[in-house]
């Protein structure tokens, strides 16, 4: 048996550390989740999940998280573009501002957004005049999730945008392409994998987000109640198996969706010959 030599030592060690921490922090809690929900019989499980209130919460959570992530796809690209391509005064300050949603306690963000967007708030009053209610509706939830998710898209797209070869754009125009054609055919394709990554991160975060949402959501069952809140409600009623079942279902759905997005990303990479 010949041992494979690698330039950097410590493959065994780093693999060990990885497996150990991933087990401790991710896998074991997940197993606990599964075992706890196994306490319920299939009938009870069905009963819990098929509840109309639970289904409505799933619908609210997934649709708002998706809408927010989708919106951030565009907003994030534009923000990253501006940060990378234009000489902005106080660029560093703008740049750090992007990360603020990461650092701000989410409850603070939630309360601020609620105050602003409630029907008599600074911004909410204008929407109210137009007959649009923002706070205490899924629209409000989406706004909170846009706030939370934006840095994910910006930060994943930014480095790729920075690495893009500006001369490819010049080459494209010299070959007769219009600005839109250059954007569509030369700029966008290399950005797609990063955009998808940013999207999936923002989406995943949006599904699990609790703090910033519960204030602006209003939490009306069937209308603006999100899954994480439902789980907390079940916990407060000491319905531990019920809470874990919902959590597990939410996880499974999220996992499947992330898997699909990753697959999509893999596909775009292969199509463009990068793997």
């Amino acid at each position: 048996m010949s041992q494979r030599r690698s330039l950097l030592p410590g493959f065994g060690l780093s693999l060990g550390v990885t497996v150990f921490t991933v087990s401790l922090l991710v896998l074991i809690p997940l197993v606990a989740l599964v075992t706890k929900s196994a306490e319920l019989s299939l009938g009870e499980l069905w009963h819990t999940l098929a509840d109309r209130r639970v289904l409505a919460a799933f619908r609210v959570s997934f649709s708002t998280a998706f809408a927010a992530a989708f919106f951030n796809l565009f907003l994030g690209l534009i923000v990253a573009w501006v940060l990378v391509r234009y000489p902005l005064p106080l660029k560093r300050a703008w740049d750090s501002l992007i990360d603020l949603p990461f650092a701000l306690p989410t409850a603070v963000a939630g309360i601020v957004l609620t105050t602003l967007y409630s029907p008599n708030g600074w911004l909410g009053q204008f929407f109210a005049e137009l007959g649009i209610r923002v706070a205490f509706t899924p629209l409000g939830i989406t706004i909170a999730l846009i706030f939370i998710g934006l840095p994910f898209v910006v930060r994943t797209v930014e480095p790729v945008l920075q690495d893009l070869d500006r001369q490819q754009e010049e080459a494209s125009t010299s070959l007769g392409a219009s600005r839109w054609q250059t954007f569509r055919r030369v700029l966008l394709p290399p950005l797609v994998p990063a955009l998808l990554t940013g999207f999936s991160l923002a989406f995943a975060r949006g599904l699990g987000e609790y703090g910033s949402v519960i204030f602006i959501a209003g939490n009306m069952p069937m209308k603006s109640e999100i899954v994480p809140l439902l789980i907390v409600t079940k916990l407060e009623q000491y319905n531990y198996p019920g809470a874990t079942v919902i959590a597990l279902a939410s996880l499974v759905v999220a996992f499947v969706m992330l898997l699909i997005i990753n697959g999509l990303q893999q596909w775009t990479r292969q199509r463009t010959g990068r793997d």
């Binding site: 001369q167 494209s172 010299s174 070959l175 392409a177 394709p189 290399p190 463009t272 990068r274």
Partner: protein
């Protein structure tokens, strides 16, 4: 007159990239813009392409003023130093790009696009790579694909910005010859930027020598080498020995050495004279008034470069730049002379050139 540049000036803040440039290029020419880095050659090329816009002056393409036309309307094919291929598209799609982005009415049908692309890939001898992606190709292959891509739109002018600058010496040599052959075949008016004088001499039919945003000389490779117009061109094209001294009574006087100059009857203040290494002969005859000591011998393959220090009994001695002369000898001559490092021999200067009213030579 295919490309005509009149009084073109471009500044970046305090830096003058182009200083009142006038240049005319005929149909079907292959011209090199040659100069050290920062001399403005790339800015000039990019201005002609429409990627930069000058502060004043104008650019005529086939007699039409195109100074402010965007690049799309200029019918130029541009080749970049670092290829600028679209890495997410196959080689085929890269070459097809210029045809695919045409307005629907002018876009050729798919079969026609395919035929044209394969024709161009055949021309650059890389049809077998059509399905690959640029990152999988070597530098030389990438540059040839970039050229095929530029030619796909049937440009009236081909502009190349240091096209071989990023390649290995051997690939470079091969591509140079190949570019010249391609030009002979296609006859598209071509302008390429280079800082490599050997490359300019080998490929171009005319050379534009630039320095500090100005044109120093325009001429055939032979002309710029044999009769340089300025001290800068003398030192930049080919190697040269610089002697400090003055013209006096038909001689060039440098610290005790009196070198004869044909047809020179003027007296002049202190200035420089330039001697090519192959214009100096080494003789074993101690009678010549110019003895030198052999300092170093460098075999260069087909020739030998000999470094020789002037030997003199006067205090100052001949004022030679770097304190030694470089003499280029053929292999044959070197073998016949059987020179030894350290020995003293004589030299004869066969040709020397100098400039009226010379300012300090630019040796950067």
């Amino acid at each position: 007159m295919s490309i005509q540049v009149n009084h073109l000036t471009k500044r970046y803040g305090d830096f003058t990239a182009l200083d009142d440039i006038d240049l005319a290029i005929d149909d079907g020419e292959l011209v090199a813009l040659l100069g050290p880095s920062g001399c403005g050659k790339t800015t000039l090329l990019r201005s002609i392409a429409g990627m930069e816009f000058a502060d004043s002056g104008n650019i005529l393409l086939e007699g039409r003023d195109m100074t402010f036309e965007p690049i799309r309307h200029r019918h130029v094919g541009f080749v970049f130093q670092h290829y600028a291929l679209f890495n997410h598209m196959s080689v085929f799609e890269n070459v097809a790009y210029g045809l695919r982005v045409r307005p629907r009415a002018q876009r050729p049908p798919e079969a026609e696009i395919s035929r044209r692309v394969h024709e161009l890939l055949d021309l650059v001898q890389l049809d077998w790579l059509a399905k690959r992606f640029p990152p999988q190709l070597s530098g030389g292959q990438r540059q040839r694909i970039a050229l095929a891509r530029a030619l796909a739109v049937e440009p009236r002018y081909l502009l190349l910005d240091e096209p071989f600058g990023a390649l290995d010496a051997s690939v470079r040599k091969e591509l140079r010859r190949w570019l010249r052959r391609l030009h002979e075949e296609l006859h598209v008016t071509s302008l390429f930027v280079t800082h490599d004088q050997e490359e300019a001499m080998e490929v171009a039919s005319r050379i534009v020598v630039m320095n500090h945003g100005r044109i120093e000389q325009v001429g055939t490779p032979e002309a710029v080498y044999d009769s340089p117009a300025t001290p800068f061109v003398s030192t930049f094209i080919g190697s040269v020995n610089v002697l400090h001294g003055s013209l006096r009574d038909g001689h060039f006087d440098t610290g005790g050495w009196q070198l004869p100059i044909p047809n020179a009857d003027l007296n002049s203040r202190s200035q420089n004279a330039f001697v090519r290494p192959h214009d100096i002969e080494i003789v074993r005859d101690a009678s010549t008034p110019w003895p030198v000591r052999i300092r170093h011998v460098q075999p260069m393959g087909s020739s030998y470069h000999v470094e020789a220090t002037p030997v003199t009994d006067t205090v100052q001695g001949p004022r030679v730049e770097n304190d030694y002369l470089t003499v280029e000898l053929t292999r044959q001559t070197f073998k016949t002379l059987a020179l030894e490092v350290g020995e003293v021999v004589g030299i004869r200067v066969h040709h020397l050139h100098w400039f009226h009213q010379e300012t300090a030579p630019a040796l950067d």
